[in-house]
Symmetry: C2
Subunit: 367 residues, 2 copies
Amino acid sequence: MRFNEVLKDVSTYEAGKPIELVVREYGIDSKDVIKLASNENPYGTSPKVIAKIQELAKNMCLYPDDSMYELKDALAKKYNLESSNIIIGSGSDQILEFCIHAKCKKDSKILMAKTTFAMYEIYGKHVGAEIIKTNSEQHNLEEFSELYKKHGADIIFLCIPNNPLGECLDKNDVYEFLKTIDKNTLVVVDGAYQEYAAFKDEKKRICPKDLIDTFPNAIYLGTFSKAYSLGGMRVGYGFAQNEIIQNLYKIRAPFNITTLSLAAAIEALKDEEFVNDCISKNFEEMKRYEEYVTKKGFEYIPSYTNFITIKFGDKYVSKEVAQKLLERGMIVRDLTSYKQNAIRVTIGKPEQNTKLFQLLDEVLQNL
Amino acid sequence: MRFNEVLKDVSTYEAGKPIELVVREYGIDSKDVIKLASNENPYGTSPKVIAKIQELAKNMCLYPDDSMYELKDALAKKYNLESSNIIIGSGSDQILEFCIHAKCKKDSKILMAKTTFAMYEIYGKHVGAEIIKTNSEQHNLEEFSELYKKHGADIIFLCIPNNPLGECLDKNDVYEFLKTIDKNTLVVVDGAYQEYAAFKDEKKRICPKDLIDTFPNAIYLGTFSKAYSLGGMRVGYGFAQNEIIQNLYKIRAPFNITTLSLAAAIEALKDEEFVNDCISKNFEEMKRYEEYVTKKGFEYIPSYTNFITIKFGDKYVSKEVAQKLLERGMIVRDLTSYKQNAIRVTIGKPEQNTKLFQLLDEVLQNL
């Protein structure tokens, strides 16, 4: 059967390995498997959110309120926006997919950093767009500017802070860059890990309302998957001027998040104390990683997220390290598919991190 | 800002009104609102599934197993297929979206019945495809054949049984039609309500394995939203030859269903007794609708689903009837947007149906 030609050039996203797979393939008991691979919140979901979902589980037969009135209202209040500035997605992933489908077609141009969230490129290829990347691994706005002057772009992706590397642009630099961008270019500011970055360094904080008021061609994306501990529930949001939101809405399918996801997100917004507590612990534990990696003589990228990227240089092969850890029930993310000889490790709970250090010692001794 | 031109012609799907909206707009207590508008299973979700989700609610922070190994394995066993014949979607809606994006681009042709599931056309317009519809409201395969000979088609949609009208093609007629279709045309057999149709009349039963073995250009879509009582959890599936599945997989985003949706679907498949019991009650109650409508002198379309379409002819205006019912806390689906002077009513529980008859009597007397 014939399919669209653009699909020939499309690869599928390599998701982090689930605990179930390690159980199946290596026969390790699920309670002995530690997953530090998908930047899930290791402290679990807020007990208040869990209780709410247990109470509402009986509503699984009912479609969600597709207007998402209550969630949009809560987000609008928190971020000082109008509901008409908001669209909800099945993870913020889905909203970046909407952006690409709304703006791009074959031979449209999409500008991004060399090593950034893989879905930008994958979604771009779905519509046959041309992907333009900087030479630098990390976000380098001078290179972005040069490439933009040379090629133009229908969409620019800025991942602030950047997944999978962890670095983060300063807000002021982002603003200076945005001033130079044509109003017909949609700039996607992916803030999936913004809560972490803003906690660590106020200079990194992007205020969504100020961003979209100052730059009407920008859209801010946020998620409940990381700081809000709802990775499994697939809820993200986009904030932009209503003209953009209206066009994205044309692409959104009805009922694009589940009834329980909607309820969980609404409840999670009520428990900011839990969120802040998790973020605080995250950076306490990250110090241990920085010390460990330095002691071992490897390099790491200073991180503004809930993960850290450890580079093995010419000492070890990251793919082998990740595989040996996997066989011991420790799942981390090998970055070979991102052309990095590095692993990305989610900052876990204290005892999980201690275990990671032990297993990494053991694995490296035997490689 | 400029957006893709095809979006100018895109309208958004009008979802059934949620209970929350009636509570907000008419100040009616949520426990007094009855929703017979979205073909949700009125008997709720299986208690076994509810218990499982309450147990697993703590896993909301974890991404799902993106291979969906266990769910695909269970579906493969039930339908005598291989896992490689299966793709899971956020509702079967999402899989029909995948089909359109895999096969169609601007000016591709999509053939469908005049009055059928609205998303076929909406997704088609997202890619700028040409929508070709039969003159007959209900599925008429002779007209499909004539139009196919005249125009060809990249995709043909057959909704068996048909939403929102309720009629259902015979399996043998579908097979005769499929024999005449070119192998490069993808035929989507949307079986969202097949469990109901097959229960009522064996001649309507489509066996997915036999369908895709006989016609390698066909894909069968099923859902957990209707008979399996998980409308709010957004889980559907597509069965096809692996060549088709592989291409749809290129378009699927990772983690396209939630962790709890995956668990709920797996558990729901284990409780077929609940499903059969609900379907049996559905057709018992449908008899009451047929008697009521006949007594009132209206027409209905004999239905192979969990809803019934009631036509008001020149006696009443369906939009007014639906609105007056809404103000009394009874939500039904007005079909004006489908160009029908009719309402579609989900077959509810006995007491809900009794209430609908009472309120409809009251409303019609005052119109």
